[in-house]
Symmetry: C2
Subunit: 339 residues, 2 copies
């Protein structure tokens, strides 16, 4: 048995948790790729370990990925598959498995079918696995699929979730329109349709249960606050009334007529707000789920680390979470879980 | 593809839901075995279908199990493995898979190791699977294992659950001391150690995560009410101050030092009470789960029916739920899920 070797791609906010978590679970972090900041610095220094890891952050992805032997690359760069397609491709062509917290990557067949099938083919050709995971893996997808098992009949699934968009670095904040005036927000919305992260979760639940999505619509609106709020991710003051983020309502209907309605808000919080995760399955019986103050950011980082052995063990291709074993806590070093 | 054939063994309270659920999911119910009441009646009549099924309730288990071809037998007779060992043996020796809502059967290796290994061997010798399932499969075991996947580190797991002992027929109510005076309750407790259903759930969670139990203790006390309560399961009036059921506290420590503390009350309810399911995983991060008014009885029946294809598909032996695919809702006839 040898330790798992990982490369971290994208040394932003999330790497400050993911890198230490990997080290504590016996993973050798053997490479780090950045884009602009921290280039040349030691990764241990960058993620606040208080000690050097002997791994310099490089902006030469090609060099790191071709020269460094590794089992898996952890990509924490952006929220949409299109934004990380080139990076995934480079990893896969260099024979590396990929785990990413890119939210769309959780289940991107509905929103990015062409890119996903290209990645799937590339991954199969290179004998590696690509998987999107994170908090949603547990809290917005598998837990709903699991609870459904307590139902004899299901008519509808409703969800309400909220996360602090300020916890995930500037990329995520920007993609939520944080700080824009309402006019700017609406203009941005018109220019580009940003798919809700809940689309992927609905898709994952449907895939797990064996439903197909027949209709799906999404409506967006800006969230606002009555007070000025500071957004640490962008280091800006958001004037009262400007967009603090985005609320999305996703409604879908399955082939069997089951209705989904999931509301998701990603926003900079008022002082009294906390993350929300509340779901209802309506049918026989009704099942209600609530996670009180769910730890969205920490669980995102814990989840991707716990997922590492599943991804290395999986068949090659683009493998979505409902086709992996359910996520579980890993009390032992991660290489103990390799097949 | 042919429909699944099932025999129902124990035509009590739960069969009134399980039999219709099986029929609605395309299962042929081809036999019914009772012990005392309803013998000779049509099963459809007994479970309140309003139509005959052409299946008479028989008290000759041997005859039904040896002469009737069936894929699986659903046993809903009692809460402890010892009480249904002979019935399981008869099913298995007649080549039938077994699903049971017997609570101990969920994970009986800690509480009944000898009987369980005898069943395991019998099942392997006869090429069939024996599994315990029910509400706990989802709400007290797998959901905790799944949520653990969002943690980087776990120190402790605390649970609080309550169910209405009056929903499950006289066997369950009697085993909870319903109606006894406090002195009678305590004498019963001294005579026999009744293992808490939570022992099996802790065992299942530990097995799923890869922990072993190093210490386990259970403390019981009677639950009481300030008012007289009617127990429909036993058709008795419980005087105020007498036992309305039992509260159990199970404390366990794993090989890695993780501490479980799970409190479970099974009792006849005061008018304002409802089922409870609240869990906390303490660690990094903390994760809180609550199911508001969980539908314990209906989900027990839905779960065992949804489990049928998993059990038929499984390897022979005593297969506990953490070694099956996670339970999921079945939108299609159950034989569609057979391998």
């Amino acid at each position: 048995m040898r330790k798992i070797k990982a490369i971290h791609y994208g040394v932003g906010a999330m790497s400050h948790m993911i890198v230490p978590y990997m080290l504590e679970k016996g993973v050798d972090v053997v490479g780090a790729i950045g884009r602009v900041s921290n280039i040349g610095k030691d990764l241990g220094d960058v993620v606040g370990l208080g000690r050097d890891l002997g791994v310099k952050v490089s902006n030469n992805a090609e060099e790191v990925l071709s020269e460094q032997e590794a089992d898996i690359v952890i990509i924490t760069i952006a929220s949409f598959v299109e934004q990380i397609y080139d990076q995934i491709k480079l990893c896969v062509e260099n024979g590396k498995n990929v785990a990413t917290i890119c939210e769309e990557a959780l289940s991107p067949w509905w929103t990015s079918p062409h890119l996903t099938s290209k990645i799937d083919k590339l991954a199969k050709d290179n004998g590696v696995t690509v998987t999107g995971t994170g908090y949603q893996d547990v809290f917005w997808a598998n837990i709903i699929s699991l609870l459904s098992g307590g139902c004899h009949h299901i008519d509808a699934i409703n969800g309400l979730a909220m996360y602090n968009v300020d916890d995930y670095g500037p990329e995520v904040a920007r993609s939520h329109g944080v700080g824009l005036t309402i006019n700017e927000f609406n203009r941005e919305e018109e220019k580009q349709e940003i798919p809700s992260f809940m689309i992927m979760c609905v898709e994952s639940i449907c895939s797990a249960i064996g439903w197909t999505i027949k209709e799906l619509i999404q409506a967006n609106e800006p969230t606002t606050s009555k007070m000025d709020l500071y957004a640490k991710s962008l280091d800006i003051e958001i004037p009262a009334g400007n967009a603090t983020g985005r609320k999305e309502v996703v409604e879908a209907v399955t082939n069997t007529g089951v209705k989904f309605r999931v509301e998701l808000a990603g926003k900079v919080y008022d002082p009294d707000e906390a993350d929300i995760n509340k779901w209802s399955i309506l049918g026989l019986p009704n099942i209600e789920l609530e996670n009180i103050k769910p730890p969205t950011d920490v669980s995102t980082c814990a989840s991707i680390v716990n997922r590492i052995p599943d991804i290395i063990n999986a068949e090659p291709g683009y493998v979505t979470i409902e086709n992996l074993p359910y996520l579980k806590y890993r009390p032992y070093p991660l290489h103990f879980y390799l097949k």
